[in-house]
Symmetry: C2
Subunit: 197 residues, 2 copies
DNA sequence: GTAGAAAAGTGCAACGACTCTACTTAGCGA
DNA sequence: TCGCTAAGTAGAGTCGTTGCACTTTTCTAC
């Protein structure tokens, strides 16, 4: 594995960060997002409020700790796909491989519930995905040798990044992901009517 | 036309609201969003800060004054479409008819620039559109007699509502809208390479 | 008309998120 | 061992936002 703890300093820094994130998540799950202040979190982690903001850009970021390198993974999935594989297939496999496991965590039920019941967190979660639209669109455009803001490529990036949001909370997430990729591949078709009740 | 000014009270209320919105927009364009406080706006409009929040839900809402009934228009476009017209066509015509005029306003350049250069405003603008995903998805589902959270319908709603965001700032907005609707209708295809330089 | 409900607006205090500044502490490299 | 730098602290301050008690204005019903 990687060795992120080059020295005692970095290790202590990571420990503080983790202590803050842990305290925050526990308090949020206990009382709800709006009922927990930064002060509460700082006290629980035994740090000052200023330290909290040294580690996290804002209150919402405390909830989504492990966000880091989704972007680079996405772009790598496009750039380093098996030769002969289409970009749509590469993205489909990447999302099928990486994403459902995030929701399959223990504690995921409570966590998902927390996010869905707190509007500011739902909004933040959506932006976490769509934030990467530009980079992914540019990567796709590179594969075809067109401008980075090429509409076709940016549109594909944006639609693909909506898929996790669309699949969130569905019973069969994998089927949902496949279904939406089908729309993108073959065009939209009216839903099949269910058998009459 | 409609008569929204039933009495003196409503007229004065509308006037105050307008005074606040005007003062806010002018100050924002002059100094930039972050350099204007709610107190500044309240002072410029000669009201108290509490009054500002009686009329607008938050600071961001001061920028997007005329947001109101996009949702009902969208749903009407689906429900009351000419018989025989597909839902995709109805939505395409609706967006082509209603949306490009919003950006064609005088002062639109400065305004667009303000929004694009202020992250919190870009995020808010996106949410203004995608906020209606659920209602539009439900309306589409109704047309086919399927569940309101039917994935195919919700996905279509979400993709369609992304189109204005995708077309924003393009040279030829109408062509951009058509192009994205083409993706939704026939499936995604790689972009055509431009002639080599 | 006039009384009184209803609503718009005010002034103020408060809370929480976040920032800034000046200061202490602790690891690190020479 | 001696600084240098980065992590952390305390505390004051800004700003968005809300709540409360109160005044003023308009509408409505008698």
């Amino acid at each position: 594995m990687t060795m992120p703890s080059a020295g005692r300093r970095d290790r202590k820094k990571a420990a503080t960060r983790q202590a803050i994130a842990d305290a925050a998540l526990q308090l949020f799950l206990e009382r709800g997002y709006d009922q927990v202040s930064i002060r509460d979190i700082a006290d629980a982690a035994d740090v000052s409020t200023a330290t909290v903001f040294k580690h996290f850009s804002g209150k919402e970021a405390l909830v989504f700790d492990q966000d880091e390198d989704r972007e680079s993974q996405l772009i790598a999935a496009v750039r380093q796909r098996p030769s002969g594989q289409s970009i749509l297939d590469a993205l489909r496999h990447h999302i099928l491989d990486t994403w459902p496991s995030i929701e399959a965590h223990p504690q995921a039920a409570e966590f998902t519930n927390l996010v869905n019941s707190t509007p500011v967190l739902s909004a933040y979660a959506e932006r976490m995905w769509t934030r990467h639209t530009d980079s992914l669109g540019a990567a796709i455009a590179d594969e075809f040798g067109v401008d980075h803001d090429n509409l076709t490529c940016v549109a594909l990036a944006r639609f693909v990044l909506e898929i996790p949001v669309l699949a969130r909370g569905r019973q069969d997430r994998r089927a949902a992901i496949e279904a939406v990729f089908d729309i993108l591949t073959h065009g939209w078709e009216p839903p099949s009517k269910p058998p009459a009740p």
